[in-house]
Amino acid sequence: MKFNLLALRPLRAGTVVLATLLIAGWAMRPLEDPAWQAVRAGQPALKLDSLQGALGQGVTVGLLGGFRAIAADFFWIKTNSVWSDYDLPATQTLIKLVTAIDPRPLYFWQNGARMIAYDMPNWRVAEAGGYDVVSTAMQQQIEHEQSAVAIKYLNEAFGYHPDSVQIYLEIGNVYLNRLKDLNSAAEYYHKAALRSDAPYFVARIYAELLRRQGRNAEAYDWLKKLYPTLPKPTPPGLVQPAKNQPSALEIEMAMAPVVLGRIREIEKELKIPEYQRFKP
């Protein structure tokens, strides 16, 4: 039988194509690697082992293929749907699933924690017969349990958002509004207030939390240190370069006169003599 060389043509063409792609891929590493590292740095690793049980294969491939944000959005909408039906197990599972899929948006962590800490205790009490039937001790136990779940959940968020002001505030608010634990709330507000990106109100609330615990001296020291850092309107006659001029909104949000007013209140409460009082 005569060997037909033409039969080898597709094989030769295939080899040329593969070899060219191989060389091109290798040659383009210097372009691809830094870009890929940058893309990857913005994408926390998927914990597939915790997701595969809850998701089908199709969704998993979608997640791996780059549809991660949209999948998380879909599941968040589903979370809202089960939340409106007061379905506690489904809501709690979906909240955790959403942040397992895409832990980057703070919105998911904040709102998930709010559902767990503020809504779910009401659902549990309602399911047990309502606030008239369930004893106060039992209500408090439920609130403590749900708050613990929410705080644990928010602490997981620090893994993706280290030192986030919003997460510190969310934990502080759970302590303040749900558990009425002023000391722990103050601790988290303090952590948030120390961050340079903290909104102005955080430092003011921290001082108020200290005052409500009777720690007036600490609040006084804190506010005295805070006041000089706050933006204030430029006094008439003083010319400042435009770039150093705080905006009207910033001045309004900083509420320097309110802070000064509180300093004066504490001075009265602590009976600080006139000559030792804070001089702005």
Partner: protein, 282 residues
């Protein structure tokens, strides 16, 4: 050079004529109905999010869904349009008429590519502008309703959104070149479409094989996987959309590298499609 070209030099004007015809043919293939459907879908989804009262985060949802729709429908459109426009020439025998004239196969293939690339460009431009318009309109409303949620001004970087549209266009360009390469040796439209979808999935997931086998003890297996990683382009490098949606800016250096990566791949894979097509009997 093809024997039928009879020694005529390569001509960009002939290439552009092929591209122009391809574009016209694509527009006639109900492409704009498809775009209209997508636009209606986008607008409807934006209205749907208002039901949930997401606040300023509604913008993230609109952006995610808009960019997701662009990636999904864009990939589908690229593969379907490229395969359809290539095989319509083969099946209607018009390719024979065209290639019987003094025209290079390079001009034919790159003309086809440019025609499809222009169609995808229109698709990307329309969807990006529509999405930007939707986001801008909704952001204005939300800024009026909840000014405290926008302490630093606008959340969406509209310039980055436009850059994302361009990067997606370039990615679809690589995908169109891959589809043309497959079409250049394939006998049927269906085979081309199926194989191109497989390639799309492989190019999106090849990084996983890299990761999984990076720690494998067996050296030959590791080398094999590394080589496979070189053969398939990594489509995940184009996945910068999430950063736009969560309010982070795009890094200009990364954008330029990704754009360069796409352009080099378009040239290389397009060249291979020409090489493969030159060996093909029509």
């Amino acid at each position: 050079m093809n024997a039928t070209t009879g020694g005529v030099p390569f001509s960009f004007s002939r290439l552009l004529i092929v591209a122009g015809n391809t574009f016209t043919e694509a527009v006639r293939q109900k492409l704009f109905n498809f775009l209209l459907l997508l636009a209606v879908g986008l607008v409807a989804s934006a209205q749907f999010f208002r039901e949930f009262n997401f606040g300023s985060s509604e913008l993230k949802f609109i952006s995610d869904f808009g960019l997701g729709a662009m990636v999904f429908f864009g990939s589908t459109l690229t593969i379907a349009a490229t395969a359809q426009l290539f095989f319509s020439e083969i099946e209607n025998r018009t390719a024979l008429t065209i290639l019987a004239k003094p025209i290079w196969r390079t001009e034919f293939i790159f003309g086809k590519f440019l025609g499809v690339f222009a169609v995808i460009g229109v698709f990307c431009a329309l969807t990006t502008l529509l999405l930007a318009g939707l986001l801008c309109s909704r952001e204005n409303s939300l800024m009026a309703l909840h000014p405290d949620a926008f302490p630093n001004g606008r959340l969406i970087h509209y310039g980055d959104l436009m850059v994302m549209g361009v990067l997606q266009w370039l990615k679809f360009g690589v995908l169109a070149a891959i589809t043309l390469l497959i079409a250049s040796f394939s006998n049927t439209n269906l085979y081309t479409v199926v194989m191109s979808f497989f390639m799309l999935v492989i190019c999106h997931l090849q990084y996983l094989a890299h990761d999984a086998y990076a720690q494998v003890a067996s050296l030959p297996l590791r080398l094999l996987v590394r080589m496979l990683g070189y053969v398939f382009p990594n489509f995940q490098v184009f996945n910068l959309a999430d950063q736009v949606a969560i309010g982070s800016g795009l890094d200009a250096g990364v954008v330029l590298r990704v754009a360069g990566y796409a352009l080099v791949y378009i040239a290389v894979i397009g060249g291979l499609a020409v090489y493969s097509f030159r060996n093909r009997e029509i």
